[in-house]
Point group: C2
Chain length 376, copies 2
Amino acid sequence: MIDPALLDPTGNSNGKGSDLVALTRAICDIPSVSGDEKALADAIEVLLRGCAHLEVLRDGDALVARTNLGRDRRVVVAGHIDTVPIADNLPTRLAGAGDDAVLWGRGTVDMLGGVAVALALAVELGAPGSEPAHDLTWIFYDHEEVDSALNGLGRLARNHPELLRGDFAILGEPTDAGIEGGCNGTMRIELRTRGVAAHSARAWIGENAIHAVAPALARLAAYEPREVEVDGLVYREGLNAVRIEGGIAGNVIPDACVVEVNYRFAPSRSVEEAEAHLREVFEGFDVVVTDAAGGARPGLDDPLAAEFVRSVLATTGGVPAPKYGWTDVARFSELGVPAVNFGPGDPLLAHKDDEHLPVAQLAQCRDALRAWLLGG
Amino acid sequence: MIDPALLDPTGNSNGKGSDLVALTRAICDIPSVSGDEKALADAIEVLLRGCAHLEVLRDGDALVARTNLGRDRRVVVAGHIDTVPIADNLPTRLAGAGDDAVLWGRGTVDMLGGVAVALALAVELGAPGSEPAHDLTWIFYDHEEVDSALNGLGRLARNHPELLRGDFAILGEPTDAGIEGGCNGTMRIELRTRGVAAHSARAWIGENAIHAVAPALARLAAYEPREVEVDGLVYREGLNAVRIEGGIAGNVIPDACVVEVNYRFAPSRSVEEAEAHLREVFEGFDVVVTDAAGGARPGLDDPLAAEFVRSVLATTGGVPAPKYGWTDVARFSELGVPAVNFGPGDPLLAHKDDEHLPVAQLAQCRDALRAWLLGG
């Protein structure tokens, strides 16, 4: 359970709106490692269902809450409620005070801070006395940190595609309260070599499959990843071996070796083009694609997106940046909904055991988002 | 138990001496995978202790049986009684008949055929009416197929060095009934690279430890192993990666990679020289030696060895060849005892699931060895 008082926009101690620090802590302190989101989803559901201005649907441990105000345009705000495994970093710990305070613990960055911001605004905007400029769809979903086939947003897109529709989407992934547009695509391939096993005392009878990967590693080591400008943002690519395995025993010539390679490619390149590029790079090798997800163009040339960027940056400063990591903005992009990442927390701290959040970013994100959603 | 009648030099069906095929089968059919040699050692001990002409000592599952005839010179004949794990290839199976018969099963080649030959001659030579030209030491030992620290011959050399003394040693390892002199040395090293872990979406923050092994694999792939003549025999070397491992997860730049390399080097090169060579080949890499055993020069220039070779080849034909694999002849070599490999079975079938022995080689080896030991 989360105390509803934490979400009262006028009720917190400093009078500046909902108590986001206490709310973020309450959310983080309900463990919600992927697959175990039920308790947190239950707590969020209670709060959403308490709002007369929201129509609520639950699918597994995903929740969708929508206003139906008859506005011309609809904005979707989405965030995942699962975290990577806890590493002795819960319950949360608050260090320092006031605007300089830092909140430590699993989920503070990725991305329960963003969930707290969204939850506070979901309860506030559209309630009596609050007139958002657009209709709003709030999505809280499960299983983002694991196999993409389990992803709750993907499941919603399959089960209720109409609920993901909108004119613009904001994903609350950590961006240090800046705006990160689109995302790189990702592809994993396996390069497999075959040899002939033999006793290593008579190596000439065999054929060494580990030696056979030498040219592939040489090409990887020499590869110069591109920097590609897409819609005004520069995406940096990457091509890396992430796993290598070969060998039978200390006295046997290995008959098989496998190299797993991860390619991160700019959103201007399709999955098919990415695969063709890898087949060219690794010509002569047996290439098997094991996993692939296209990127998302930043879409900042969309009028609603441009308006959002202008409004937020007026509050936060800075310029839009590319998102390098693959995020669920790509799912919106696939549905034809322009989407950006915008949330509290340093993305480089995601998944780290020392994950921590400067709490000032919570209010900064909420205030910028609220101002724009109210037509500011 | 092994039926003593199988060892009666005059009692077998074809009248040509002990029934080596039945004896080999009886020995193979007592499972004796390394560490589990007790039953076979017990059975051999009973037979040896039944011989008044032999002085018998047991150390663990190793047995040493010696004649004390006051001869000028002493010849050692040794063989290990353990096998690699059984692969549904016991009990033995005899296919065909007479001299063309083939005996299938674990241990037939490596090296219980050689053990049968030695056991038959141990019981026969020096018994009343038999006058060997040299004093004889018969050694049957455990744990050859596993970690060299467990090796029964090595243990005997530590506990009873005097029992291994002799003027010449014959190891009954499979040589297809030919003579293989000396053996290559073997060294295992690990090459380790270090990198910096990072999310693969931001690879430039990390440093890829798998890419860093590329030059080492390129050097291995390009390496041209030497052929080295030592005392008239040509030894073929080999340098091979036998294992490679690296990687943390499909989206993480790996921070460590290890390549295990096995170097087989001619007996003209010492362990120290072998290490120096590898440090030169892998200059720039962190090289750790994990295992090393020097080779053994063939020693065929020793007068007793030369006499043995002449005598055996008069029966079997052929010419002496180098032994490529490391064998326990190196232990005798270290003790200053010239030693050769001579035994039934194709060494290329050792450790294979389809291990099998043309039984004609059993009598061929026994007859050649008996003739020489009797001063023929």
